[in-house]
């Protein structure tokens, strides 16, 4: 059975050649160089850009920029920010990552990972030209693989939680072949959460407000009823159907006809249109296309698992590499072209560095210096919002700045790391207060009516922004800046205060260190080796094990088991002693873990000790997000694994814990008597715990 040329994929492909930006081909936009215009729509434009970092550390990014003339429309700005916030929270390989978002001169933008690949829409357009390929078993399995991966990405979004652990109930609402992207490396990415629904959206959609593409909307969505994750399952079902058959499922002459078709037209099985489709894929697809949401797959993950199972039953395994091979074979020329485009962008940014006068915005060109300085910002202009926070970008220095010793998010304009969890990002957003810029002529006047990121209304609804915009306690960097601003007569007094403060901090630190070492001797076990291997490890850990008294759960109120565990108690102090400014809120996190099982997280946070001023002042030694894994095995049986009263699962189990020395408790066969094992969790690495148990 061949595909009918009625699919219409290539008709509305809408692909266009990337157009160079401006007359010079490059435009500076905050800390980015916009090089090519990739796509433009009613709301904004997408550019291929370079994130300019220090010492030539550049990377290609896609910049999605809202049209400047729409920047004063609060509704659109909120939608735009919502997209950024939701996407930046989803940290999943099957969702396009957000690196950064914020505002430059009143223009909001999102910096996304630039993907080399094709949309599913483009894949279908390509297959329309080669109808025989749609019948090939390989395509069927690739379609299943792509949708299965998209299911995982969407499931990650659907199950997002806010900082307090409350579900955000994100629904993408615009899943379509245009928003499913397959990279040339074979990975599938879900794009564009622009109309996604979430509990904490700035812009709340009311029931009846229909957003998305009608042909991929679930019946309840086109009816304007409340939707949940199952609406995305429906859309995935439509995508899968269309990928398997090679035709549009709901392609009607008018929107009204499309809505009617979505609501009531009989949906044929894919195999009825294309006989090569397997019964298993038929069944999966039709279940996703159940009009009653209760009849659909209960979650995207359930659908993905069914697809995985169907894939496993195929004679040919289809993994990432197979999709990559298929993509490279099909899109060899386009891949080459896109790679060349990236190389061109690289070259253009290099030439820009070499010839700053060639920029489209010469007034913002960096001063001639051996190391490219951070992009200057006019007064109150550029603000960078990273992973839910707004961080004032580096002000242009009065003289060429020295390269920073260590790239930190606040001290260098380097490419921001992948968005960390919101709470952690808020921690790292401590930044120097805005400095007066000594080059007012370089600052273009702000457009009247343009949106201000520090808008109180917006800041109120955007807590991290409010935090970051609030007065920042003086840090080592900011105090230096303040000294410049103070009148000369007060400098000696300040110096004296600084010396006294330093002495005080030093003595407190010494005391803390003495206390830490004194108590750590009490709990330091013999086996805290980063990687305990084989029998020696087992023996070592066994030696370190300590049987504790009976009790259903570790009681945080017990003197022998204080919050955080008696043996772990000194660790936060040790981390404080390590003088980590970013870890200032680490005790809060730890305290949340110490909460008794079942206790609300809010209560745990409320009880969390506030970080000391000393801890806040200290420079970072290692990131607060440093975590590691522990593989726990209990040969001879299974055991419940607890850490600070939290049940982490049963052995065998790989658990993720904050780096450092930790105490885990093993309760064989669910007994109330536990065995405490001390383990050193290496940052970003895996360690092992082997503790034989007996019935």
């Amino acid at each position: 059975m061949s595909a009918e040329p009625t699919g219409g994929w290539s008709r509305d492909l809408g692909e266009r050649e990337p157009a160079p930006v401006g007359a010079s081909g490059v435009e500076r936009f905050g800390r980015y160089l916009l090089c090519y215009e990739l796509a433009a729509g009613g709301m904004g434009t997408v550019y291929l850009a370079r994130a300019v970092g220090p010492a030539g550390f550049d990377r290609p990014v896609a910049i999605k920029r809202i049209h400047p003339h729409l920047a004063h429309q609060q509704r659109l700005v909120e939608m735009f920010l919502d997209e950024a916030r939701i996407t930046s929270r989803v940290n999943h390989p099957n969702v396009c990552s957000v690196f950064d978002f914020g505002e430059v001169d009143g223009t909001y933008y999102i910096a996304l990972e630039y993907l080399l690949g094709e949309s599913v829409h483009a894949l279908l357009a390509e297959l329309e030209r080669d109808s025989g390929a749609l019948d090939a078993p390989r395509w069927q399995t690739i379609a299943a693989r792509v949708v299965a991966d998209a299911c995982e990405g969407l499931h990650a979004a659907h199950t997002l939680h806010d900082d307090r652990g409350r579900p955000l109930r994100v629904v993408h609402r615009d899943v379509s072949p245009q928003n499913l992207f397959v990279t040339y490396d074979g990975a599938t990415k879900v794009l564009d959460f622009g109309v996604a629904r979430a509990e904490d959206r700035l812009h709340q959609t009311v029931a009846g407000d229909v957003k998305g593409k009608y042909a991929y909307m679930a019946p309840e969505q086109v009816s304007g009823r409340e939707v949940d994750a199952r609406a995305d399952v429906w859309a995935l079902g439509v995508c899968l159907w269309e990928m398997l058959v090679g035709e549009r499922l709901f392609r009607e002459p008018s929107e009204m006809d499309t809505i009617l078709a979505v609501r009531s037209r009989a949906i044929p099985a894919p195999s009825a249109r294309r006989a090569s489709v397997s019964p298993a894929l038929d069944a999966i697809c039709l279940r996703a296309l159940e009009r009653d949401p209760k009849g659909r797959w209960p979650s995207a993950r359930a659908m993905g698992r069914a697809l995985e199972e169907a894939l496993r039953q195929q004679p040919m395994p289809t993994g990432l590499a197979d999709v990559a091979d298929w993509m490279r074979a099909r899109f060899a020329r386009r891949r080459t072209r896109k790679r060349e485009l990236v190389e061109t962008v690289l070259a253009s940014s290099a030439s820009l560095r070499a010839h700053p006068a060639g920029t489209a915005t010469p007034s913002l060109a960096p001063p001639a210096a051996s190391v490219p300085p951070p992009p200057p910002r006019p007064r109150g202009g550029a603000r960078r919002r990273s992973a839910g926070t707004v961080t004032p970008s580096m002000a242009p220095p009065a003289r060429p700045p020295r390269p920073p010793r260590r790239p930190t998010p606040t001290a260098t304009p380097s490419v921001p790391p992948p968005p960390p969890p919101r709470a952690k990002a808020a921690k790292s957003s401590v930044a120097p207060p805005p400095k007066r810029v000594a080059a007012p002529e370089a600052a273009p006047p702000r457009k009247p009516g343009s949106a201000k990121p520090a808008d109180p209304a917006l800041a109120e609804r955007f807590p991290p922004l409010a935090r970051a915009s609030a007065p920042v306690p003086p840090t080592r960097i900011s105090s230096k800046h303040r000294a410049v601003e103070l009148p000369p007569s007060r400098r000696p007094r300040l110096l004296a205060l600084a010396i006294v403060g330093a002495l005080l901090v030093g003595s407190l630190g010494t005391l803390a260190a003495v206390k830490v070492f004194g108590s750590s001797e009490r709990v330091e076990p013999a086996a805290a080796a980063p990687v305990a291997s084989s029998a020696s490890a087992a023996q070592g850990v066994e030696d370190a094990a300590e049987v504790v008294g009976e009790g259903e759960r570790p009681d945080p109120s017990r003197p022998s088991d204080p919050p955080g565990g008696d043996a772990e108690g000194p660790e936060p102090r040790a981390e404080e002693a390590s003088a980590s400014m970013e870890e200032a809120s680490a005790p809060a996190e730890g305290a949340a873990e110490e909460a008794p099982e079942g206790a609300p997280a809010e209560a745990a946070r409320a009880e969390a000790p506030r970080p000391s001023r000393m801890a806040r002042r200290r420079p970072a030694r290692r990131p607060a997000s440093a975590r590691g894994h522990v593989n726990v095995v209990t040969p001879g049986g299974w055991a419940d694994v607890y850490h600070r009263g939290r049940h982490l699962g049963r052995t065998p189990r790989q658990i993720e814990l904050p780096a450092g020395r930790r105490i885990i408790e093993l309760r064989p066969f669910g007994r109330s008597r536990g065995i405490r094992v001390s383990v050193h969790v290496p940052s970003g690495d895996v360690t092992r715990v082997v503790r034989p148990v007996e019935r």
Binding site: R305, E308, R312, S533, V633, T651, P652, R653, V689
Partner: protein, 271 residues
């Protein structure tokens, strides 16, 4: 020379696969999950696995996947295990979640892989076909057929279908050995053995369609000891005996006086 080298290579591969299973378990016991998976994968890609070692491999893989939080992969391994040996007894390392998933897998899969043999009389010989049934998880990777006509010395070998020509007269009977092969070359199901092949008498059924082997084959005995089941039964019997003993002791220790009602107590209520 080349054949010798090939044979030596094949022999080493045969010997290696079960070793890889044990290596995988050893890695698992060292909590090296990634290493265990590598070893299991190597064993599956090798040769010479017995059904018991394949079951052990699948159980180990399920445990590792459980440890890694890969629920789907764990369930897949358990489904394959249930398809190989529904009566398999999981070891003590398996937590209740894995045991429950195995029970569910056993229900879903429905039974073990089996093989049926059909023999079709042909004008100048016979055609033998092996059909795999119950392969709900794609465990079967191939079929090895061996057959001979009228008690000939030489066996003919093939895949799912084998043509047995006979030019010097009609075929009287055919002896067949059919084996379903799974990962690591493990035999999953068998019809007949070299010593006692399945015998099909063609004299009566010539020209009347296929002669189907006498029922589907029995699954191979995987040979795992149902240690847990024995322990459970033993424990139950022991508990019952203990209850009986306690009841008996109570009955004997109670004297007659204890069962008599006590005298009434008069309570005077004074205003």
């Amino acid at each position: 020379m080349l054949a010798l080298a090939f044979s030596a290579g094949a022999t080493s591969a045969r010997a290696q696969a079960p070793d890889d299973v044990e290596a995988g378990w050893a890695r698992y016991r060292e909590a090296d999950f990634a290493g265990a998976l590598e070893a299991f994968d190597a064993a599956e890609a090798g040769e010479g696995l017995s059904p018991a070692s394949l079951a052990r491999l699948l159980e180990g893989r399920a445990l590792v996947r459980f440890a890694q939080g890969e629920q789907a992969a764990m369930e897949a391994a358990l489904r394959r295990l249930a398809n190989l040996d529904p009566q398999h007894a999981l070891g003590d390392d398996a937590p209740p979640e894995v045991a429950r998933a195995f029970l569910a897998a056993r229900r879903d899969v429905g039974g073990p892989v089996r093989v049926e043999v059909e023999v079709w009389p042909e004008p100048a010989g016979a055609r033998v076909r092996a059909r795999v049934t119950g392969d709900a998880t794609g465990l079967a990777l191939g079929v090895r057929l061996r057959a001979r006509v009228d008690g000939e010395e030489a066996w003919r070998e093939g895949g799912e279908e084998l043509l047995l020509p006979r030019v010097d007269g009609p075929v009287r009977f055919i002896e067949v050995v059919a084996t379903v092969l799974g990962p690591g070359g493990a035999p999953l199901a068998r019809q007949g053995t070299e010593e006692r092949p399945a015998r099909f008498d063609l004299a009566a059924g010539a020209g009347a369609g296929p002669i189907v082997g006498a029922g589907p084959s029995d699954p191979l005995a995987v040979g795992m000891l149902p240690a847990r089941r024995r322990r459970v039964i033993g424990g139950a019997l022991g508990a019952a005996a203990a209850v009986l003993l306690v009841a008996l002791a109570i009955g004997l220790s109670r004297g007659e006086t204890r069962t008599q009602p006590t005298a009434p107590v008069v309570v005077e209520l004074r205003p």
